[in-house]
Symmetry: C2
Subunit: 421 residues, 2 copies
């Protein structure tokens, strides 16, 4: 298991704060650091959360230093009474304090940009442990601290994610990256529309990849992500292994793979629309605007996304999209007939090349024996005609909306990709 | 600090999985357990994440059992080769295995409901450690395990959140709840529209609350949450403390408090619209559908939300909302004039009582010296007239959209609450 390859440098993460320990906020910092460290070829052995408690912090640090070479601490560097990381570390490393002029100058600049004097309360940030190297924070007021101790290193970073990430990338990555002779890289293939068991039936056991990449399967209500991980002695070797594994998967999984790594469905759809010179308009009922929200999350989407109509009421479906009242009366708003009319209606009224529509019952109310909660129709109209697909999502309101939006964007993607064949 | 009141029973949480440790998935289970345990009057001392590694798991368990009375473990109870929690615990507690007929019957029922035979691969779940009490899992295939050891207890729960929560609530809460003579409760007051420093200037130091409740301030780009925590010997005592603290805050913070505990802005807005018998329609540009998505996330929103128009292009603003072309040409789409015309336009064309509009530059492109990224106008039209507010959000595209949606809903809330005065 490459995570514990004995040749790799190793690290632990300690996250400090009652708010994390008691679940009031989610510890995204440990996740970020875990992901970055492993990508730098560092084995992450453990991640620990402790409260704002001096004994618990120094005990956790003490244990971690017995196991690993690097300890990364986040949180507790602010200026309220709960923030005790700095004095606890100074005490642990038996360090006095000194006044740091560069931190003071940084605070002056930070507040000058905001047109305010430096508040009295943050001046304590200029007092830093003598034995620490200061990591100057351009995104906030709390400097990071780096201690070296018996060949090991302990870095303390602020808990605000933006500041933590900034200091990690600027000061720690240059120190950590050269440590490992290994390169570890992941590649994620995003699939949707096929349940996990069905996907693996289609793909078969990944025996051919054994010993070259490790494979993880991560299902969610929006689809299954396949994570391929490879380790090697050079970037080229790792890339070659991942490329081969990706090709193996693509050949078997087929068109349920919609994106790779950080790319999103809405980016893929946007790229396809741009490449084909097509414009899009969307008519949403049960998704309530989520599809428009996702599409417009992509910078530059105004080049292809013309408009959305969130036609929640029947009156809006008729007035905005020209859905005939008799269709609504005869088949109901959640029906194939209405989904088709909505898709063609938004296409026509918006003057778009492609019209996409969703109508469904998100729940928990509104279902019946004939039309249960989760029943959803997705329509797509383009110059080649109108298609419609029926789904039965069986989750809660929020997830049913998310699944419907994902299925609609996926239908659009498949249609656009098919149009290229 | 009440988190470490010596009279409280105590617990640690251990989360198992390489996927968590390397940041591929977020550890929501520890967050859930931390929150529930503290609410049951249990002091959570530490939360630890270790990988799928037998030595690391038993080491973490060993350390935890030296510190606390209860250890809750999640993850690693599935049936893939990575899932080693069960054998590691059996080994740790020196337990053999036995075949459990009730687990076998449960698997039969689970798959019968899905119309499938029990797969060979999950039959291993029927083999359980002799020394464990089995926690039967009705939501999935992996049973939970409960070990008692020297007056301490170790519970292992599956990593799938739905299954973990089900077993925790059904089997562990009845055991844990009676342990504590304390009652601990939190109350969260959600504020928006006032930066953290400004909020505390307005409120002043919470000295009057010292010794009765503890106060935490949690800023995000959508607002500041104030968490009040109280401990006492009865529910009534705790409630009285929280009520007094809440009243103290409300008196000082005023109308920037929009909700309490789990309530959301969109629920508050929905409640106010229903109470006043008003209908709503929304015209969104830069938010792209997010406001509609949030409003329709509330079950029953079709009673007051008529429709949304995501008028991304100028053509759509003119055609759908009747925004005069000369306004668009003269002032630009991102202007007070256009925001006002959009609000009144959606109100009129949708036949709604209230029209809400947003137009802005989400970024990163599209800004200019005169109209920088983040410039946003929010309009509201109702029978009393049209109002408009200007904002300059200075974050990334995603956060600018989220802040604009929040500000728009907040303007609507304030207007609706003012209408009640």
């Amino acid at each position: 298991m490459f995570l514990h390859d004995p040749g790799m440098p190793n690290a632990e993460i300690i996250s400090i704060g009652n708010e994390v320990l008691t679940g009031l906020i989610q510890d995204g910092n440990s996740r970020f650091l875990g992901r970055r460290l492993i990508s730098l070829g560092v084995a992450v052995r453990r991640a620990t959360v402790v409260g704002d408690d001096a004994r618990a912090i120094s005990q956790a640090l003490d244990e971690a230093l017995k196991r690993v070479d690097w300890v990364l601490i986040t949180g507790g560097l602010g200026t309220t009474h709960d923030d005790i990381t700095k004095p606890v570390l100074a005490d642990y490393f038996k360090s006095g304090f000194r006044h740091d002029e560069a931190v003071a100058a940084g605070l002056e600049r930070f507040y000058a940009r905001r047109g305010r004097p430096v508040p009295e309360t943050v001046l304590g940030q200029c007092e830093v442990p003598e034995k620490a190297t200061v990591l100057h924070n351009e995104k906030g007021t709390a400097p990071g601290l780096l201690f070296e101790w018996g060949g090991k290193r302990v870095a303390a970073l602020p808990g605000v994610p933006l500041e933590m990430e900034h200091l990690f990338e600027k000061y720690l990555v240059p120190l950590i990256a050269p440590l490992s002779g290994h390169r570890v890289k992941h590649r994620i293939l995003h699939t949707t529309g096929v349940p996990e068991a069905g996907l693996w039936e289609r793909v078969g056991p990944p025996d051919a990849l054994t010993g070259r990449v490790s494979v993880a399967s991560l299902p969610s209500h929006l689809g299954v992500r396949i994570r391929l991980s490879a380790v090697g002695e050079s970037d080229a070797e790792v890339k070659e292994k991942l490329d081969a594994a990706e090709a193996w998967f693509r050949e078997r999984a087929g068109d349920c793979i919609f994106a790779k790594d950080e790319e999103t469905m809405e980016q893929v759809v946007g790229r396809l629309l741009l490449a084909r010179g097509l414009t899009l308009a969307v008519a949403e009922s049960c998704t309530g605007g989520l599809i428009g929200h996702r599409l417009t999350g992509v910078s530059g989407s105004s080049d292809y996304f013309l408009e959305g109509a969130v036609t929640y009421s029947n009156a809006a479906k008729a007035a905005r999209l020209g859905v005939p009242g008799e269709l609504l009366a005869r088949y109901g708003a959640v029906s194939e007939q209405v989904a088709r009319a909505m898709a063609e209606g938004i296409r026509q009224t918006a003057g778009a090349d492609v019209g996409l529509s969703v109508t469904g019952i998100a729940g928990p109310g509104g279902g019946s024996a004939e039309k249960p909660v989760g029943l959803t129709f997705i329509g797509l109209a383009d110059p080649a005609g109108i298609v419609c697909e029926k789904f039965l999502f069986q989750q809660d309101r929020a997830r049913n909306k998310e699944r419907a939006a994902q299925a609609a964007l996926n239908l659009l993607r498949l249609r656009l990709q098919g149009a290229a064949d």
